[in-house]
């Protein structure tokens, strides 16, 4: 009757049953799910960090840094090489887009020699000589793009290693766009440790100090740089300055291990490190040749410590002391073990919600939603009697379906997502109200129950379809062009609307027709 066959009824009821079964895990707390039999459906809707608490950090990597560094090295290389071969050059510079280097050779007879020298320095660059004796070295843009991608994927790997070393549960780490990494760590009480390990490049190098240069005296000579201390301050409160040789004595890349420990004599926190074979040899040589001189441990352009070498260190292991606390010694060790990032990194967005605020929000949100639901349920029954109860069942099914679908596609429920559910709910109620009001109209126009219901469903359906499609189009566009929270809203709204087409139309119709067949009323009970 009215397009409802026995087969159809069975299928619809079966779908409802599956939907409810799939939604049950999402309504239960996680602890209860632990004892859930493994053959049963057990996927839960995952809660966003704003609801369950946790840290969301967006990192930006300076992916062009490696490129710039390579060009600057080339520039320095050309300068030294030309000087040693006595080739006079002018206008040695980076080009405007920073994709190449150009310089002008004064003497035409030197051009071949200059080209040869550049070839030796840089094998992959493309060389071009212009009529005015300008030599231009450029790099293939595709190769540069490939290099930037490599920087991003290496950074991703290192960030992952750092976070794993902190031992947090279920972190989500993913690349975003061409130069960003999104890190989401659920359930973190204080994000300070996370901030400390994420925001640092952790490029560590060992340098000798330059004893002949006064750090306060203007421009340092070539080959020397002035670096600030990490923690040490002068009497006026400013960071202490050091004159450090540019040449890297030993690079941090050669470290194989780093651990926090305490110095057995002073009891202060230190970081013990170990070099690989080559690093140990280099470190041994440097310390043997420079006993009595100070050397600096430099991390990301800051001098952590600058002790005097008392004796040659030949075993390849040592300790760094630098006014550490237990926490900061551990963080530095984590950073050193994970290795340096290929390019500088910074945190450009951070959102941390403490676990108890998250649960407060859920509690308040859930309470508000339950009260809202109860109000709607009561009024639907008050307004439409038995059919109101049917509409309420459809609403509950709608919620179950929405949760089931979100759990199975792995969507995350956030605060704005709850807003989307609320709008979806309102539209589902509206679909029922539209149909019932239409029944009353048709019935008032003198139709008997069956035709009245049939017409009402058909007429109301066009309206429901129109309003749902309009909203669905808006939601899809919001999803495509919006960012984080707006997308969460769009997802739950779209799912809610799609489900309401089934629950508020198909399921309601089935129940109402079932009632008519069963009771055969003379008058419409609405």
């Amino acid at each position: 009757m009215m397009g409802v066959t026995r087969l159809r009824a069975v299928i619809v009821l079966a779908i409802c049953f599956v939907g409810v079964v799939m939604a049950i895990p999402s309504l239960l707390p996680a602890e209860k799910m632990a004892g859930w039999p493994s053959w049963l459906w057990h996927k839960q809707v995952s809660l966003g960090l704003d609801l369950q608490g946790g840290s969301h950090m967006l990192l930006e990597i300076d992916v062009a840094h490696v490129q710039r560094e390579r060009l600057n090295n080339l520039l320095d290389g050309i300068r030294t090489s030309m000087r040693s071969q006595r080739i006079a050059v002018t206008n040695l510079q980076l080009n405007a887009e920073a994709t190449g280097v150009s310089f002008r050779v004064r003497d035409t007879s030197d051009i071949e020699k200059a080209r040869q020298a550049v070839r030796e320095l840089e094998r992959t660059g493309q060389l071009a000589t212009q009529p005015d004796n300008t030599i231009v070295v450029t790099f293939d843009p595709r190769e540069l793009a490939e290099q930037r991608r490599r920087v991003l994927s290496q950074s991703l790997e290192i960030v992952r290693r750092r976070i794993d070393a902190l031992g947090t549960k279920e972190p989500a780490i993913q690349a975003q766009g061409q130069d960003r990494i999104l890190v989401q760590v659920p359930g973190l009480k204080d994000p300070k440790a996370l901030e400390e390990v994420l925001g640092k490049t952790a490029k560590m190098t060992f340098h000798l100090l330059d004893p002949n240069t006064d750090p306060a005296a203007g421009r340092p000579p070539e080959g020397t740089m002035i670096l600030p201390a990490d923690k040490e301050v002068e009497r006026d409160g400013r960071a202490r300055q050091y004159a450090v040789q540019r040449r890297i004595a030993v690079s941090g890349d050669r470290l194989t291990d780093a651990q926090p420990s305490t110095n057995s004599q002073t009891g202060e926190w230190v970081v013990s490190f170990k070099f690989d074979g080559q690093g140990a040899r280099q470190f041994g040589n440097v310390t043997r040749e420079n006993v009595g001189r100070p050397f600096a441990v430099v991390l990301d352009g800051k001098v952590i410590t600058a002790p005097v070498i008392r004796e040659p260190i030949l075993g390849g292991s040592g300790q760094i002391s630098g006014q550490f606390t237990a926490q900061s010694a551990n963080n530095l060790a984590v950073l050193l073990r994970a290795g340096a990032l290929p390019a500088p990194i910074k945190i450009i967005e951070q959102r941390t919600v403490g676990p108890d605020l998250g649960s407060d929000s859920i509690e308040a949100g859930t309470r508000a939603c339950i009260i809202g639901y109860l109000l709607i349920f009561t009024l639907m029954i008050a307004g439409y009697g038995l059919f109101g109860i049917i509409a309420n069942v459809a609403l509950l099914l709608n919620m179950a379906f929405t949760l089931a679908i979100m759990a199975s596609i792995g969507a995350t429920l956030t605060l704005p997502g709850i807003a989307g559910m609320v709008l979806g709910l309102a539209m589902a109620v509206d679909a029922n109200v539209l149909t019932y009001e239409r029944m009353r109209e048709e019935s008032a126009a003198g139709r008997s129950p069956l035709p009245a219901i049939d017409t009402a469903f058909n007429r109301a359906f066009t309206t429901i379809l129109d309003s749902n499609l309009t909203t669905l189009i808006a939601a899809l566009l919001l999803y495509m062009f919006g960012s984080g929270p707006v997308r969460g809203f769009a997802v739950t709204l779209s799912i809610g609307i799609a489900c309401s087409m089934f629950t508020a139309v198909t399921v309601t119709r089935l129940f109402i027709v079932g009632y008519l067949v069963w009771r055969r009323p003379k008058l419409l009970p609405v």
Binding site: P191, L357, S361, M380, A419, E437, L477, F481, V486
Partner: protein
Amino acid sequence: MFKGIRLLRAVPKLDYFRFHRLCFALSIALCLASVVSLATKGLNFGVDFAGGILIEARQTTGPIDIAALRSTLSALNLGDVALQEFGTPNDLLIRVERQGSDESERVALDRIRDVLGPGFEYRRIEVVGPKVGDELVIDGILAVTLSLLGIMGYMALRFGWRAGLSGVIAILHDCLTTVGLFSILGLQFDLNVLAAVVTIAGFSINDTVVIDDRIRENMRKFKRMDFRDLINRSVNETMARTVMTNGLVLLAVLALLWFGGPVLFGFSFALLWGVIVGTYSTIYVAAPLEWYLAKRGRALEKEQEAEAAAGKP
């Protein structure tokens, strides 16, 4: 058998055009007030959009001496720092304005942590760099604009361009006055409120589509009826549904406002305004506007016919 209480015993016979000039004037005044406030006062952007630092902290040892803390924090020279009690005397909300760069925001956060010391637990920390804030604003505007265009396209396709245009103007009216209200009252505008504005747009379209659908249906039924009477009839016929649905949504929103806690306040407040203004705009903005557009259209057609007739001797 209990049949339910009917809120409306019979189909009302109201004329919604009686006050349409007054309503147009009211709507224009509301929109103008919103635009003026947005232009002069601007929006009180939350950290999401403005960039900066937001900290919600709870002192574990007891009530917070906000005045003392305010003077210590202002000594840090971080620019505009706002402190307020949040919910209970043990809870504190600190807002620091956008700093020059991502690095200086890190430094500022660490210094505030040092000042607060170990007696606090952090319930929420948000640090948004200048770049991200700007991106979120642009993304938000782009997404909302495109979805409005999408709605207009669909409605124009289904009900003709006049209905599409009036529908979108009504939605714009609702969104603009909501944003304007937030500007006038100086309430904080953050990503949650943006989600509410989008929800309002969705709610308002739904309402408009329901009435437009009825207009379309009645146009087929009563081919000769005056367009104004037709609109009145359609609005009256759907009034029972409007009262029921919008009443239910209003109650749900009130529940959200009352029980949703301080985090959801901005969101629920925007929704409350939106439900009221959305219902109003469907009946008093979209419907009369469509009638106006149709009237102008018909007048034009008549003119053209008259000209064509005059051309032929």
